[in-house]
């Protein structure tokens, strides 16, 4: 009984945590980008106002939409994004809630689901703009999946070759920073994989320069064109939670250290320090992979997204993998 109660508490706690942090991070992103463009920019809590407003607006159903699917898609997107948080180590609050019941492969699949829900919702909306956006989203997903899977498989292979039990578990990956197991050549490989991951993140989150599925200027909002009110708010929340999840995944793979590992602190203070340090790390990574790229670049054409991810970023990931392999042999 206590177990069930604990799980329910975790579900609500984590959903709240993910949504709150995600919205704060997107507020920070908008502020930082505005400063980079020498604008004043919106207040930090602007995303909260946006979502609150959308929640209270009329939720319209387009004339030629498929009602059930159209309404379900945003719910599925948010649910999948929140579920993802159960399998990720989230800083000072210890091991993932569902540690041992799912691993990095499951996280990969769950990362796909919000995007897939958007695709299905886009097609169900019955608008040609949304249909084009949905096709672009599918192409983008196929593109970034190759480098992302390469990164995760490299990590799992490295841990497996060292004889670590359960090499695919994200908890294990966080507990065993890869930097400690590789030599000079391998470190170079890990650095390359780190940059690959930084470039996969904006694609995963549908941000400029990989936002061709939404493309405000040519597709009028693309995949989301028919969504209004509450459904649109749910998609925004799903994206916010996914931002936190991507940040947490990057931290788990590349920067899993904790403050309490370096300085001896009493338990509660250590947990708080770890948690704050985790937020700093996530913010730092998102700053480079989302904000800086977004301020500096224009949108890529969809064909360039595919070539970019498969040819350039994909081969960079393979080079990183080979360097780590060579390092292990030599």
């Amino acid at each position: 009984m206590a177990d069930v109660f604990y799980s329910i508490l975790c579900v609500f706690g984590l959903a709240f945590y993910g949504i709150f942090l995600g919205l704060v991070f997107s507020g920070v992103d908008r502020m930082v980008v505005a400063r980079m463009q020498s604008r004043i920019g919106p207040p930090l809590f602007q995303p909260f106002f946006d979502v609150l407003k959308l929640l209270n607006k009329q939720d319209m159903l387009p004339a030629n939409a498929v009602p059930g699917i159209f309404r379900m898609a945003p719910v599925v997107a948010l649910a999948a994004a929140v579920t993802l948080l159960f399998y990720l180590p989230l800083g000072g609050i210890g091991a993932p809630v569902l540690e041992g019941r799912g691993d990095a492969i499951l996280a990969l699949y769950l990362l796909l689901i919000p995007g897939l829900a958007m695709v299905i919702g886009g097609f169900a909306g019955g608008s040609p703009y949304a249909a084009i956006g949905a096709q672009r989203e599918m192409v983008t997903m196929i593109s970034y999946e190759l480098p992302l899977a390469t990164v995760i498989l490299t990590f799992a292979w490295k841990l497996a070759s060292l004889g670590v039990a359960q090499p695919f578990s994200l908890g294990v990956m966080a507990a065993q920073p890869i930097w400690g197991y590789v030599g000079l050549l391998g470190s170079l490989g890990v650095v390359i994989l780190f940059f690959v991951m930084l470039l996969v993140t904006p694609g995963e989150l549908g941000r400029i320069p990989f936002d061709s599925p939404e493309a405000e200027t040519e597709l009028a909002g693309g995949i989301l064109v028919e969504y209004s009110g509450r459904s649109l708010a749910l998609f925004q929340l799903a994206m916010a939670v996914k931002t936190v999840a991507m940040g947490a995944l990057m931290v788990t793979l590349f920067l899993p250290w904790n403050v309490s590992g370096w300085i001896a602190l009493p338990a509660p203070v250590g947990a708080v320090a770890d948690f704050l340090f985790f937020l700093v790390k996530v913010g730092f990574l998102l700053f480079f992979s989302v904000s800086v790229l977004r301020a500096a670049m224009a949108r890529l054409r969809i064909s360039d997204v595919v070539t970019g991810y498969w040819k350039w970023i994909g081969s960079a990931a393979v080079v990183g993998l080979l360097l780590i392999l060579l390092d292990a042999k030599g």
């Binding site: 908008r30 505005a34 463009q37 020498s38 604008r39 004043i40 920019g41 919106p42 207040p43 602007q46 106002f49 946006d50 609150l52 407003k53 929640l55 209270n56 607006k57 009329q58 939720d59 319209m60 703009y129 405000e216 200027t217 597709l219 009028a220 909002g221 989301l224 064109v225 028919e226 969504y227 209004s228 009110g229 649109l232």
Partner: protein, 143 residues
């Protein structure tokens, strides 16, 4: 009309721009709202690409016969609560095209209008003033 969201609505107005046959002067002035000089994002205003996402419709230009049904359709696609701002004298009276055979009439004969912003073309500051008038109107509706 459901107006529960006014507190949040006033801090997050999403704008959809619609050109109903203007000379493009007012359009360019309205698009300039997003630039670093005017930066309406600091007020929570965002220019969106779809009327389904919008709270405010900014219409520029006199309404040509071709655009009349489309303007109606765009207005009907916006979710409640929704507001309309007219930018430029063209939309208020026909402006320099007042006696043209191609006009279906000023905007307020086709859809309800909340705020009029005069000028030919209207300046971005004037549009921001129009938005603040809309906020005042929202506050009155709230109380």
């Amino acid at each position: 009309m459901r107006l529960k969201a006014n507190k949040a609505l006033g801090r997050s107005l999403w704008v959809y721009l619609c050109n109903t046959g203007s000379c493009n002067g007012c359009d360019i002035e309205c698009v300039a709202l997003g630039t670093s000089r005017y930066d309406v994002e600091r007020l929570g205003v965002k220019i969106v690409g779809s009327p389904r996402h919008a709270d405010v419709l900014i219409v520029t230009g006199p309404v040509t016969r071709k655009m009349e049904p489309r303007l109606r359709m765009i207005y009907e696609q916006m979710p409640d609560p929704r507001f309309v701002i007219v930018a430029g004298v063209c939309g208020m009276s026909g402006g320099m095209f007042y006696d043209s055979y191609a006009l279906a009439g000023p905007i307020d004969q086709i859809i309800p209008v909340d705020v009029y912003v005069p000028g030919c073309p209207t300046r971005p500051e004037a549009v921001i003033h129009g938005l603040s008038l809309l906020l005042e109107k929202l506050e009155k509706m709230e109380s």
